[in-house]
């Protein structure tokens, strides 16, 4: 018998019928809530199972629902609806603004909103996220001013980063949002270092790292898990598995690995796998992992199962590499639809209220967008001092940068 390389490919390509038949969707309650120490539980079960709360009818059931308790009350549900709807309004308007040439670049997170929203709602002030560009909803759920958010997208005077970074590469220390790099993976291990500082200075704060399925392939993913395993700092390491990395399906990053969560096992790190489109499961799992970190039981790996319903970015056209209707076939559905159904069942929401809310959020974003655009767009840019680019490279401008500024003529 001869040796042949394995070249992995997704279950469906353009023209094929979307196929998730290999994807096992467990019922809520299949996995009990383990003790925070996570001792004596079978790691394999949690790293390969799927934690869920909402059943197909939109009822909250099972041990994780019980564990969530009041943190999943009506108010929490409404906050979730608000975050997600607001995010979708922003995505819609900004995608459009980019198409109109008003901003250089944009990137939507459609279909993944429940994860960042629910996780952020369980954090405390002073905790720090190390997000990817796909998690702006962390800022929404932290009530970051829309004006700053849009200002950064428009790279004008309202941009807290003075146009230095790409749109969507936000930084908001006061809102627990670390400066995004753009280099994949690098910040995952930094979140571990930040958490180490939390423990060393005993400030009772925690850190959260974020990475995509594709970027789990990066060396920094290993660096982060290794460091977390060696020093056990208060960090939650989130893996957002949205099935795609630009045109590359998650199987190229997982290889023959069963799940991404399972990577944690080899490092002796508790790892759980969660339905990321189930807002209540997100709240419950986040509550558990954050409590573990806060109480000093150490790191947790969470693989969030979701689906990147939108294109990778405004530079991408997914129809070239996956079936058009694959999102509809995604077994875990849409997080907003599912939360909406649950809210209506709870009697705190209605179709009408929903439609009305959608309009309200679009209006709110439009409003802010108008203000922000008044300060400049790509078509009609705000003037910025050329010499400004020499600021902030170092705390004090060194002689050679001053010479260059003079040479520049400003």
């Amino acid at each position: 018998m001869s040796t042949k390389l394995q070249f992995r490919s997704p279950s469906a390509r353009p023209g094929d019928v979307p196929d998730f038949s290999q994807f096992h969707v467990s019922a809520p309650g299949e996995l009990p809530v383990p003790d925070l120490r996570f001792d004596a539980v079978n790691p394999w079960k949690y790293a390969t199972g799927l934690i869920r709360v909402l059943d197909s009818e939109g009822n909250a059931t099972g041990p994780w629902a019980d564990y969530l308790g009041d943190d999943g009350d009506d108010n929490a549900i409404l906050l979730g609806l608000k975050d997600i709807m607001k995010m979708r309004a922003i995505d819609a308007r900004m995608q459009n603004a980019q198409r109109q040439g008003k901003i250089t670049f944009y990137l939507q997170c459609t279909g993944e909103e429940a994860i960042g929203s629910g996780f952020q709602r369980m954090l405390s002030s002073g905790d720090m996220n190390f997000p990817t560009y796909r998690q702006p909803i962390l800022l929404i759920a932290a009530d970051y001013p829309l004006q700053s958010l849009l200002g950064q997208l428009y790279s004008n005077q309202l941009d807290p980063l003075q146009g230095r970074q790409l749109p969507t590469m936000h930084s908001a220390r006061d809102y627990g949002f670390f400066t995004i790099s753009g280099n994949l993976g690098t910040q995952y291990v930094q979140s571990v270092g930040w958490a180490m500082a939390n423990a060393l200075t005993n400030n009772s704060k925690i850190a959260a790292g974020w990475i995509g399925d594709g970027a789990t392939a990066s060396n920094d993913f290993h660096s982060a898990l290794l460091s977390a395993s060696v020093y056990k700092p208060p960090v939650v390491l989130n893996i957002v598995n949205n099935q795609w990395a630009i045109s590359t399906y998650s199987g190229i990053a997982s290889g023959n690995g069963v799940t991404f969560a399972a990577r944690g096992i080899g490092y002796g790190l508790p790892a759980i796998r969660v339905d990321g489109n189930d807002y209540l499961a997100v709240l419950a799992a986040s509550k558990w992992a954050i409590a573990r970190a806060r109480k000093g039981y150490g790191p947790t790996i969470i693989e969030w199962l979701t689906y990147r319903a939108a294109a990778h970015s405004t530079s991408d056209d997914p129809s070239a590499y996956r079936p058009k209707n694959e999102a509809d076939a995604w077994p875990l559905g849409d997080p907003l639809d599912r939360l909406k159904t649950h809210a209506i069942k709870q009697g705190i929401w209605s179709k009408e209220r929903h439609t009305q809310a959608e309009a309200e959020f679009i209006a709110e974003v439009k409003e802010v967008q108008k203000e922000v655009e008044a300060h400049g767009t790509l078509i009609d840019p705000a003037s910025m001092s050329p010499a400004g680019i020499f600021r902030g490279v170092y705390e004090k401008i060194p002689p050679h940068l001053n010479r260059q500024r003079q040479e520049m003529g400003y």
Partner: protein, 337 residues
């Protein structure tokens, strides 16, 4: 002869090499089924099959590490870094391994591989899609470093690089992938159709590494440049009306010092232009060699026009970008002196 964009020319180079040499494999992020985010490998997997052209995980270090193993056995991997900004995770594998395997094994093993990467800014890519790291690689003994400025050069140089017995860093100036860029982003973009450099032989041909190209003969000042900056220099020459000799280096390591010194001994003046940050950029190396080789012929200090020593800005990238005005000013300084 077909008129091609630089993307098509690069694809054509890999195409003819895949066709003529079974040892050639093409690998990188999104290069397989999809054909690469800049489409440089579009259609190649379909034509040559997955074992020849395939997707890799997002791990630049693993990509280069695997390629080194393949090359050491005699294959000719041509790997793509999605952006030059993302080559740094592979810096160890490239500088400590690929560059040294031939030497430290006394020739028992070698590393005939090419690492392609889109480089340079001017596309509003911000600090992580705009960098020009060429100087870093020129400091590493064992590597060769190449950057084309036309579709024809891109194909000829890439084929030469893929046939080279040693590892080659192949930098692709993404700003001119689809047409020459003369430094004015408000001007409407033009394609390669009208440019002679866009006419490319259809089959296999090579342009030797280590040979510069005199893009414009002139007597008043020598301009040393490569990639996008060649067109910026051309525009500055038009603007100033100065009779400049524009030399497209094409190959930074090895460097065509003979062509450079011959020109400067003629003009006595020189302007060095690159988009990378200034301190320890490749311009410094050029100046060091020039002042040694042409000291008594130089009538004025060699002028450096480069990106400023700051991270590549997003909104203000045109304040960073070394455009025709800055090159023109430098040319005048070189002449006034």
């Amino acid at each position: 002869m077909t008129n091609m964009t630089m993307i098509e020319a690069i694809r054509s180079a890999m195409d003819v090499m895949l066709d003529s040499d079974p040892g050639v494999v093409v690998m990188g992020q999104d290069v397989g089924y999809f054909g690469g985010v800049f489409r440089c490998t579009s259609g190649l997997q379909e034509k040559y099959g997955t074992p020849r052209v395939f997707d890799t995980p997002i791990n630049e270090s693993a990509i280069v590490g695997m390629a080194i193993g393949m090359a050491a056995q005699g294959m000719k991997p041509c790997v793509e870094m999605q952006f030059a900004d993302y080559v740094f995770p592979a810096f160890d594998q490239i500088t400590q391994e690929a560059a040294r395997i031939r030497h430290r094994s006394n020739g028992q093993f070698s590393c005939p591989m090419v690492i392609r990467m889109p480089t340079g800014g001017g596309i509003y890519g911000g600090q992580t899609h705009s960098q020009s790291p060429e100087a870093l690689f020129t400091h590493v003994a064992g590597l060769k470093v190449v950057q084309p400025s036309t579709p024809r050069d891109a194909k000829g140089l890439l084929i030469a690089a893929m046939n080279d017995p040693d590892p080659v860093i192949f930098l692709e100036p993404k700003r001119i992938y689809n047409g020459p860029f003369y430094g004015d982003h408000s001007a409407e973009s033009i394609g390669w159709g009208s440019h002679p450099g866009g006419d490319v032989e259809d089959d296999l041909f090579t342009i030797p590494l280590g040979k510069a190209d005199i893009r414009r003969a002139g007597n008043e000042v020598t301009i040393l440049c490569y990639g996008t900056m060649v067109y910026v220099a051309e525009r500055a020459t038009e603007k100033t009306g100065i009779d400049a000799e524009i030399i497209d280096l094409r190959s930074l390591l090895p460097l065509d010092l003979d062509t450079i010194t011959a020109s400067i001994k003629k003009t006595g003046r020189c302007v060095v232009v690159h988009e990378a940050t200034r301190t320890s950029g490749f311009g410094a190396e050029l100046i060091a060699e020039i002042q040694e080789a042409c000291f008594y012929h130089l009538e004025a200090p060699v002028q450096r026009v480069t990106g400023w020593d700051v991270p590549y800005p997003h909104a203000q990238e045109w304040d960073y970008f070394p455009g025709p005005d800055r090159v023109s000013r430098a040319m005048r300084r070189a002449l006034e002196a």
